[in-house]
């Protein structure tokens, strides 16, 4: 019941928001923010009541929805979904608080964000494939409007590209979902897992690919990533935050939840080229980020690189890598979300994203500069901050699959330090050469309130990672066990390791 409440409350509050007249934007902002905050509080209740050692789904609720075919409103979460939902609810009030500067069509903006929240959380909690698809597609619509209406520059192009890429990817997934139903007569994920032997051989390969392509576009994996730099760059700040921090995770979550456990043999068979693409993405994303003249685009390409780590971890088929991959999903949400928030604050002052426009910002904006450094370090994986834990585990896990994987992926940890710190240097250090930047005001109280929780979370996730792994481990172990270790993985290490060594 609590889970259903958490998921549906944002949508209900969005409808309630519609009743406030547009002439009172401040009331709308406050009500929208309050709703997101309440949802976050309630979601903490999920964490509180979550039984850490259980591997199965918790807070399950299963209501029949449509009779023919048999579709259920079936929700439930395990440790992986739990953290992704908390990531969503944590970032949503922050993103809304960061959007106080939106003055145009305020009501529609806040309503769409709340609808988006329901859509994204629904994706993470659906245990019925039809329901999953509904949330998956429905979450597209608000984001499309957010980018297209409140975005910058080439927003229309970016919005349509975003929509068409995702939609095109998911069309085949729908056919695959129907195909599964035809064989098993159910959309229920647990029931399908129990009957997965129904799909074997080449059939399993096709089904795997249909799902995988939909997820790979969303992640996005090289070479399907081209929508991402446009969408991230043109979206308004809060849109970029939710897009990078949560929406991309829908793709990797789909791989963990569906691609691996439902089609283990096909996943094993296709893993080599998937890992190859992930490695290319890791290095390519980092290299392209390095040459970007635009801060936001740089952060966007860094996402391609970071998400490559996640995919690498998922397809390494051992628990260390899987733990690292899931942790990296959360890390990327916090770090990149934080970067987009901070870049947005700069944009609010100067309305420019070009690195060349800035320089020596540390003089007029010392607090902002130190905040930015903190988040940058978290993004490049400095020990004691969150990024390090995930990257390290993925590298360890990948090296167990094949040592060369971690060598290639490891270069990106160096490259990420290069492009992030170089950008930092050009924007914040040295002499201020542009008179327009000389008198920029430092962060306001609202902006500090936006940034500090994100930085605190980065620190907590860096030093107390064990606490985050505890509810998650049983679930990741189950996914790894369900998938098994495919034959091609060399040096296949037994999927055990002692907790606490992190």
């Amino acid at each position: 019941m609590l889970l259903t409440l958490v998921i549906l409350l944002p949508a209900v509050s969005a409808l309630a928001l519609l009743t406030i007249p547009s002439s009172q934007p401040e009331t709308i902002r406050r009500a929208g923010f309050a709703a997101a905050l309440i949802v976050f509080m309630l979601s903490l209740g999920l964490l509180w009541q979550f039984e850490s050692n259980a591997a199965g789904y918790q807070f399950e609720s299963d209501l029949p929805w449509i009779g023919i075919p048999d579709i259920h409103f079936h929700l439930g979460i395990d440790g992986i979904s739990l953290w992704l939902i908390l990531l969503t609810t944590f970032l949503m009030p922050i993103a809304l608080l960061a959007s106080w500067g939106i003055t145009e069509r305020v009501k529609a903006f806040f309503c769409l964000f709340l609808l988006l929240e329901t859509g994204m959380m629904g994706v993470f909690a659906s245990l019925d494939l039809f329901l999953f698809y509904v949330f998956w597609e429905v979450s597209l619509v608000p984001m499309y409007f957010i980018i297209g209406v409140w975005g910058h520059g080439r927003r229309v192009y970016a919005a349509i590209k975003f929509f068409l890429f995702t939609m095109a990817g998911s069309t085949l997934m729908l056919v695959a979902i129907v195909w599964l139903y035809r064989a098993a007569h159910t959309f229920s994920v647990p029931a399908l897992l129990a009957h997965r032997e129904l799909f074997s051989g080449p059939e399993q390969g096709w089904l795997f690919l249909a799902f995988f392509v939909a997820f790979a576009i969303k992640v996005p994996m090289f070479p399907l990533h081209t929508w991402l730099p446009d969408a991230h760059t043109e979206a308004p700040t809060a849109g970029s935050v939710m897009l990078a921090a949560v929406m991309l995770k829908m793709g990797t979550y789909g791989m963990v939840r569906f691609c691996l456990p439902l089609f283990p043999e096909a996943a094993g068979r296709h893993a080599p080229w998937i890992i190859a693409l992930a490695l290319i993405g890791i290095v390519y994303g980092a290299l392209v980020a390095m040459v970007q003249p635009n801060i936001k685009k740089l952060v966007a390409y860094s996402s391609v690189s970071h998400l490559g780590f996640v995919v690498l971890g998922v397809f390494a088929f051992n628990q260390i890598a899987m733990d690292g991959a899931v942790y990296q999903m959360l890390n990327h949400g916090i770090s990149t979300g934080g970067l987009f928030l901070l870049v947005g604050m700069l944009y609010d002052r100067r309305h420019r994203f070009e690195i060349a426009e800035y320089g020596g910002l540390s003089t007029p904006m010392p607090i902002y500069t130190s905040f930015f450094l903190f988040v940058t370090l978290s993004s490049i994986g400095l020990p004691l901050l969150n990024g390090f834990v995930g990257e390290f585990l993925v590298l360890v896990g990948a090296s167990q699959a094949r040592f060369v994987y971690s060598i290639i992926a490891g270069t990106a940890t160096i490259l990420s330090a290069v492009y992030m710190l170089w950008m930092y240097q050009r924007v914040f250090l040295g002499e201020n050469t542009n008179p327009a930047n000389a008198n920029l005001p430092d962060l306001s109280l609202r902006e500090k309130t936006v940034a500090i929780p994100v930085m605190a979370m980065a620190l907590i996730m860096g030093v107390a990672s064990g606490w985050f792994f505890k509810p998650m481990e049983a679930s990741t172990a189950r996914v790894v066990k369900q998938t098994g270790v495919p034959a091609h993985v060399k040096n296949a290490a037994p999927a055990t390791y002692e907790g606490g060594t992190r």
């Binding site: 949330f135 297209g148 209406v149 349509i160 939609m167 056919v175 129907v178 195909w179």
Partner: protein, 478 residues
């Protein structure tokens, strides 16, 4: 069975025919044609109620007039669909006709006569009766198409529709004649029984000719050429009506004739398959290049005919149910969309370019939101009826072992996203240079909007009731 009892099998048609005639008679004496429109509405509501009662009462179900007509769940469902579409069309016409200065009683009478013909098409189980129904429906629609008689495009559309339509009807009639020659009957059940002993090539030839005639009526490619011109030239409320009711009626006869009459002659599978796939691609690719909203929706309607034909291609009861459900969703959505277009068309339909919708999101947020909902339903976004309809078509195609067709359907649905979204972009993300005045929506239009928006969501979120009914109706197709 007494003659009265038999006539009561056709209660809705009787009511509508009487009301239509009454309107014609009253027309010269009643100054305010709006009243005649209200009579038409009343007749439609009465007919809807009557068919509802006869369905649940059960007394007037079954066949009558020596097997010429059969009142079954299939007939009742389609008939109610036509009636609802006609009522919505009449409601959206009030304001439009007044603006164009063509509000006369005959308009409403013609809509009623058209529904009479469509009702007969849905409930006939005899080829001759089906043909008569088709002619009643078509001729009324030809006239309605040219109702703006001072407009060159309207005249051109009507003439084109009439000539090509008559030509297609000729094909149909020729097909009927050949089938009759081969089987010795025009009754569908008798044809079905006689086919095993009949002259095979003759039946196949007849079926192919009938196929051409019917594919024309549902605007399936390659017989779709008339559609964009006619949809563009017709008065917009007529386009709304035409894109839903006669099309659904044509599908009703298509399904009934091909699945209950000609079943054993399975030779037409690839005809259907090809027509479905071609319609989807022609419709969607054609719509990509349109700058006129009515033409765009016309091409989109060709694509939607393709989706329904895809369900039809499965030749299963499930496919039939999917087709019926889709037609219901599509009708409700399209009528809503065309109402918005009609409302914004301006005097003499001067503002029907997509670019005229710039900034509508700011000028008229409610209308823009409604239009967006209709477009998203046509696109097939979940929680709208359009999605569930498409989902059900894909399900039936996969269940029938046609995954290729399912994949083609979904690919087309993705192509469609582009041009539907382009309109949304125009409304919300572009600003008008010189915004045209946006008149307030009158009460009748508001009623239509409320009904269609609720319908779109209801069919998307709680489709079970209509779906069960559609499955029941499709039982006859087994």
């Amino acid at each position: 069975m007494s003659y009265l009892d038999q006539t009561l099998h056709l209660f809705p048609e009787t009511v509508l025919a009487v009301a239509g005639t009454l309107i014609m008679v009253l027309s010269p004496t009643v100054k305010n044609a709006r009243w005649l429109g209200r009579i038409a509405l009343f007749a439609l509501v009465l007919a809807l109620f009557g068919s509802h009662v006869s369905y649940h009462h059960g007394e007037y179900m079954g066949s009558a007039f020596d097997g010429l007509v059969t009142n079954d769940a299939f007939a009742i469902l389609f008939r109610q669909l036509f009636i609802i579409v006609a009522a919505l069309a009449v409601l959206s016409s009030f304001d439009y006709l007044k603006r164009e200065g063509i509000e006369t009683g005959e308009y409403y009478a013609l809509i009623l006569f058209s529904v009479v013909g469509q009702g007969l098409m849905a409930c006939s189980t005899d080829l001759v009766m089906i043909f008569i129904g088709l002619e009643i429906s078509s001729i009324s629609t030809y006239i309605l198409t040219g109702y703006r008689r001072h407009d060159a495009r309207g005249i051109e559309a009507a003439l084109k529709y009439f000539l090509l339509g008559s030509f297609a009807t000729g094909f149909l009639l020729y097909g009927i004649a050949l089938v009759y020659g081969a089987t010795g009957s025009t009754n569908l059940a008798a044809i079905r029984a006689a086919i095993p002993q009949a002259n095979g090539p003759l039946v196949a030839m007849g079926a192919a000719l009938m196929f051409v005639g019917m594919a024309f009526k549902v605007s399936g490619a390659p017989f779709q050429v008339w559609t964009p011109d006619v949809y563009q030239g017709a008065p917009t409320p007529v386009t709304a009506f035409m894109s839903a009711a006669p099309k659904a009626a044509a599908f009703a006869m298509f399904l009934r004739v091909f699945l209950t009459g000609l079943t054993p002659a399975a030779g037409y599978f690839w005809l259907l398959w090809g027509c479905a796939v071609l319609s989807m691609f022609v419709g969607n690719l054609g719509a990509l290049m349109q700058s006129n909203i009515k033409r765009m929706l016309a091409y989109s309607s060709i694509a939607h005919a393709g989706y329904v034909l895809a369900a039809f291609t499965t030749r299963s009861a499930m496919g039939g149910a999917a087709a019926i459900f889709y037609l219901a969703v599509y009708s409700v959505t399209n009528v809503g969309a065309f109402l918005v277009v009609a409302h914004l068309a301006g005097k003499d339909e001067s503002t029907v370019a997509i670019s005229d919708y710039r900034g509508l999101g700011k000028r008229h947020p409610v209308l823009a939101a409604c239009f967006t909902i209709f477009l998203l339903s046509l696109l097939g976004v979940p929680l709208t009826g359009g999605f569930f309809g498409k989902f059900y078509i894909v399900t039936s195609a996969v269940a029938a072992g046609l995954p290729g067709l399912a994949i083609i359907t979904m690919i087309n649905s993705a192509i469609g996203a582009y041009y539907y979204l382009r309109v949304v972009v125009t409304m919300y993300m572009e600003d008008a240079e010189s915004p045209a005045a946006t008149p307030a929506v009158p009460a009748s239009g508001t009623l239509v909007l409320i009904f269609t928006v609720i319908g779109v969501f209801a069919l998307g979120v709680f489709p079970t009731m209509v779906l069960e009914w559609a499955s029941q109706a499709a039982d006859i197709l087994k």
